[in-house]
């Protein structure tokens, strides 16, 4: 496994760009009880992560694990119930959970979102030029039309969109091209932090590689930090420096990419890795099958959230919820990870 990927991640030595402590997003449900508090969905529950400036941070998990909600909470686009998010890019520092008014507006320039579906994310009534220029106009970043145009052209060129493309409407573009337009729009305000939520999930593999390479180039060139939310571990393995795995709103494992893929510690991470279909037809039947499905977040199991599907679950797992234990920069939330590693 590469040393390059681990060497990149020296988050502990300098102030991280984003640091969360006990971050939780709970949604109350409508209750049919007269007394007592209404039930809540713990979409994100007590998450501590640190995203280093200029790094590519991967967040993986199945649908329903809370990864999208966590991404949105970092942008203050989901209601933060508990915990804190500190943002510090060297120029300004904010506490995101209480951010309001002019400061929030300023944060919006610094943190941007790229959506999953490039077909739904672009207005069909606007030209590509207008789509990319809109954030500049809304945020008042440019004074004149000429200035706006110059900035749009500069960003478009970075995302490999030609001048001819700028005059057209989104319907004339393929999925990969549309995703490049979405990326250009996110980059135009010169952000420091981008949440890319399943940004290649809707693309064909041949196009996916192209968009991933573009994101990676941009990250290096502009020194951006990415939170890359994905359900696809093989994609995450290729682009991210650090990977966090979520299950039912909790962080179950968090480590530099090289360490996570070489020596996954949590049984859930191992099962996820093993379930990726191998390209070798002779690997049939070798995958480790997980029984059952992710439980409903309205009614999570007691103890370790994964105990209902874990092949190694013991009595302790059904009662005590494990904390995230960090050792050599590799965090895992499992009572028995060490014993499982020795096996």
């Amino acid at each position: 496994m590469s040393d390059k990927k681990t060497a990149n991640n020296t988050a502990s030595t300098k102030t991280p760009l984003i640091k969360t402590k006990g971050l939780s997003v709970h949604y109350p449900l409508r209750s049919n009880k007269i007394f007592g508090p209404p039930p809540v969905v713990r979409a994100v529950d007590g998450i501590d992560i640190e995203i280093a400036a200029g790094s590519f941070f991967g967040l993986v998990g199945e649908s329903g694990s809370g990864k999208t909600t966590l991404g949105r909470a970092l942008l203050q686009a989901a209601p933060i119930t508990h915990g804190s998010i500190e943002y510090n890019d060297g120029e300004v520092s904010y506490n995101i959970e209480t951010l309001k008014g002019a400061d929030l507006k300023d944060y919006r320039k610094r943190a941007q979102l790229i959506f999953q579906d490039p077909y739904a994310a672009l207005s069909p009534r606007m030209t590509v030029r207008d789509i990319i220029a809109e954030p500049l106009e809304v945020m008042g970043l440019t004074k004149t039309r000429a200035e706006t145009d110059a900035r749009v052209r500069e960003i478009a060129a970075k995302c490999r969109l030609s001048l001819e493309h700028l005059r057209r409407f989104p319907h004339a573009f393929s999925g990969g091209q549309r995703q490049r337009i979405s990326i250009a729009r996110a980059l135009v305000s010169n952000p420091k932090f981008i949440v890319a939520d399943e940004s290649v999930a809707a693309l064909d593999v041949s196009i996916q590689a192209d968009v991933l390479n573009l994101l990676k180039d941009i990250q290096r060139e502009m020194g951006l930090a990415f939170l890359f939310v994905s359900h696809d571990l093989s994609v995450v393995a290729h682009v991210c420096d650090h990977v966090a795995v979520m299950y039912l709103g909790r962080l179950v494992e968090s480590a530099p990419t090289g360490a996570l893929f070489a020596k996954p510690r949590h049984p859930y991470t191992r099962a996820l890795l093993s379930a990726i279909p191998s390209l070798d037809p002779d690997d049939r039947g070798k995958a480790q099958k997980l029984e059952g499905e992710i439980p409903s977040p309205t009614n999570p199991p007691p103890g370790c959230k994964f105990n209902t599907r874990c092949p190694h679950a013991q009595d302790k797992c059904r009662v005590d919820e494990p904390e995230l234990v960090v050792q050599d920069g590799h965090g895992v939330a499992c009572h028995f990870w060490q014993e499982l590693m020795d096996k």
Binding site: A275, P277, E293
Partner: protein, 333 residues
């Protein structure tokens, strides 16, 4: 081996306001009983349209070419040419009788206001001689067989009450309850998480063994193909460009497109290899390139041959063929 279905020269165009769009161009393949044929391609390659043609489920603006033949061979019967079936009543054999289909989005393929059970019973009443009581009993058995717990409770529920994986299992139970000879599975695992995908793939493999049917398995995921199919056919812009056994095609991909697809996949065993994209975008079906359909994106494109003439299939090995001029010695020399 005797074939179950033989598709010959399937060509299909859609009549639209912008002109005729060729969706499938001269595609031939066959499936034997108990065989899983994987059909791979990117979006817009015509794989779903090809599958729907087997049941003639394409919209009314679809025009099939004259020489299209889809022969269905059933035990002890004369072959049935699905293209020649005239009445809707006779189509029953292709639509739910001998051929069943599993769709990609299970939420969209169940009627939302009818219980799962009623939908299963309805098709059994149409395609079998079961009475209502027997159809119900058998449907519950099938739900149980595909690993749905509390099958008799689920039988009375609606699609929205089931999770994604559960819905896909119910879809499989429904498709198999009429005991089809051929199952068409159109991206059956694409909407599912990897852990659930693995469960569904295992289930389908078990059922093939048990029922001995043939499966046309459509997917864009080469990994899924590697883990399920016996043979694979690769499509690009409505053309078949390579076909063969899953080992031959994945280990020795011979068409530049198949090679490109495999190279573009992120591999877990070597994280340092940069991802290689296939250059350019899939052309619009309105601007189908002349000659080899892939030449606009092909790194090995030859001006003389590739841009002018459509390549024929070259046999590389028994049952492994690819349609590329570069494999033809006369063209390259």
């Amino acid at each position: 081996m005797a074939k179950l279905i033989e598709v010959e020269n399937l060509t299909l165009q859609f009549k639209t306001d912008e002109g005729l769009i060729t969706a499938v161009d001269d595609v031939s393949f066959s499936i034997a009983p108990g065989e899983i044929l994987g059909l791979v391609g990117e979006s817009g390659s015509g794989k779903s349209v090809t599958a729907k043609s087997l049941m003639r489920l394409n919209p009314s603006n679809a025009i099939y070419s004259e020489d299209t033949k889809i022969n269905l061979h059933l035990d002890g019967q004369e072959p049935i040419d699905i293209m020649q079936i005239k009445s809707a009543k006779d189509m029953k054999v292709a639509r739910g009788g001998a051929i069943s289909m599993i769709f990609q989005e299970p939420m969209a393929s169940f009627a939302p206001a009818i219980t799962i059970g009623d939908q299963m019973v309805e098709q059994l009443l149409i395609h079998t001689d079961y009475n209502a009581a027997k159809a119900k009993k058998y449907s519950i058995e099938m739900l149980d067989r595909v690993g749905i717990s509390d099958a008799d409770k689920r039988f009375k529920q609606y699609a929205f009450e089931l999770s994604g994986g559960m819905r896909q299992r119910a879809m499989i139970a429904m498709a198999l309850s009429t005991k089809p000879k051929l199952l068409i599975a159109d991206e059956p695992t694409t909407a599912l998480d990897v852990t659930i995908q693995l469960q569904v793939i295992d289930l389908m493999k078990d059922l093939v063994k048990e029922f001995g049917m043939g499966i046309l398995f459509i997917t864009h995921d080469l990994g899924v193909i590697a883990q399920t199919a016996d043979n694979v056919a690769v499509m690009y812009l409505g053309k078949l460009i390579e076909k063969g056994s899953v080992r031959d095609v994945l280990r020795n991909p011979s068409h530049p497109y198949t090679q490109g697809l495999i190279d573009a996949l992120p591999q877990l065993d070597n994280l340092d290899v940069p991802l290689k994209a296939i250059a350019g975008d899939i052309p619009s079906p309105l601007e189908r390139p002349p000659g080899c359909v892939f030449h606009t994106r092909c790194p090995k494109n030859l001006v003389t041959a590739c841009q002018a003439t459509v390549p024929e299939f070259t046999t590389l090995k028994k049952d492994h063929e690819a349609a590329c001029h570069l494999l033809n010695e006369e063209v390259t020399s």
